[in-house]
Amino acid sequence: MSRFAVLPIEMSGGCQCGAVRYHATRFTDNAHLCHCRMCQKAVGNLFAALVGAPKDAVTWTRGTPARFRSSAHVDRGYCRDCGTPLFYDNLEGDRISFTIGSLDEPVRFKPRTHEGIEGRMPWFFELDAINEGHATEFESEDWAAAIKASSRQHPDHDTDVWPAAGEASR
């Protein structure tokens, strides 16, 4: 059994291109950053940001994630079409941990803890002091407008049909 409380949050999520979508009717109250070297490498980043959901609360609503078995006990899920890291799955456990950035409303999963701190970047705590650059629109309005107009990212809500009708072939 999970040692974490279950949150009555219901939310969908998925990859950048929208080929894989999932829905969970409950989440565990364990949003966290994991700095271990395996999580870093799996997500190509300074840490993985993860939140659990009971496996019996999860439905794959579009497509099927690809899996890489990163060790004997763990699968890492991702979209085979666009690469978005989607989950950490302890195959013997009763919950799956989704990447918070793949959820439609990441703002609702404020992290509670740092895990795997042996792998944490030595300058990690200085990041909030680095130059806060600019909003995406600032540097080049033309650039930002072009990205917005041509973005092929799935929106942050479920869709009946995707890609949207009329979109150029992918």
Partner: protein, 165 residues
């Protein structure tokens, strides 16, 4: 360092099917909070460093790419999913976590702050635990055998003696 004193960086994906080498200084070492980077990386932000023009070589395999907008390709390993690149008309940026020594690639600027998640600035104050502290709830960690590529180049990968994956 190379013979002409250029810094050398290596890295790759988790499973080792894709490996890269960079010769020359990295620029625009940054994190990007925009929603497209969040989603592409499944994270609070992307962390990226731009390779010098002509200084990037794929030494094993090559990323698969997703065109996330008309100007940008996102590269990743088709075998394990590790996000690897952000490729724009002005250069190719590599995912910092994919470097063999990411600690040498410290970000100096933040982009896309319009989408910065409100709790990100509070992250330093969260409590923390090493991986080993999780043994009671995740006892499998005690005999974990990693299939991750090591943080250096290898002549042969995966190792021949390894059982089938």
């Amino acid at each position: 360092m190379s013979l002409d004193n250029k810094p050398i960086y290596t890295g790759g994906c988790q499973c080792g099917a894709v490996r890269f080498r960079v010769e020359g200084a990295l620029t625009n070492v940054s994190v990007c909070h925009c929603r497209m980077c969040q989603k592409a990386f499944g994270n609070f932000y992307a962390s990226l460093a731009t390779a010098p023009g002509g200084g990037l070589v794929w030494t094993r395999g090559e990323p698969k790419r997703f065109r996330s907008s008309n100007h940008v390709l996102r590269g990743f390993c088709a075998e394990c999913g590790t996000p690897l690149t952000f490729e724009a008309p002005d250069g190719v940026a590599l995912a910092i976590g994919a470097f063999d020594h990411p600690e040498e690639v410290a970000p100096v600027i933040q982009w896309g702050i319009e989408a910065k998640l409100p709790y990100v600035d509070g992250i330093p104050s969260l409590p923390g635990e090493p991986t080993e502290a999780d043994m009671t709830s995740a006892p499998y960690l005690s005999d974990l055998v990693s299939y991750q590529h090591p943080d250096y180049d290898t002549e042969v990968w995966p190792p021949k003696r390894e059982e089938t994956r």
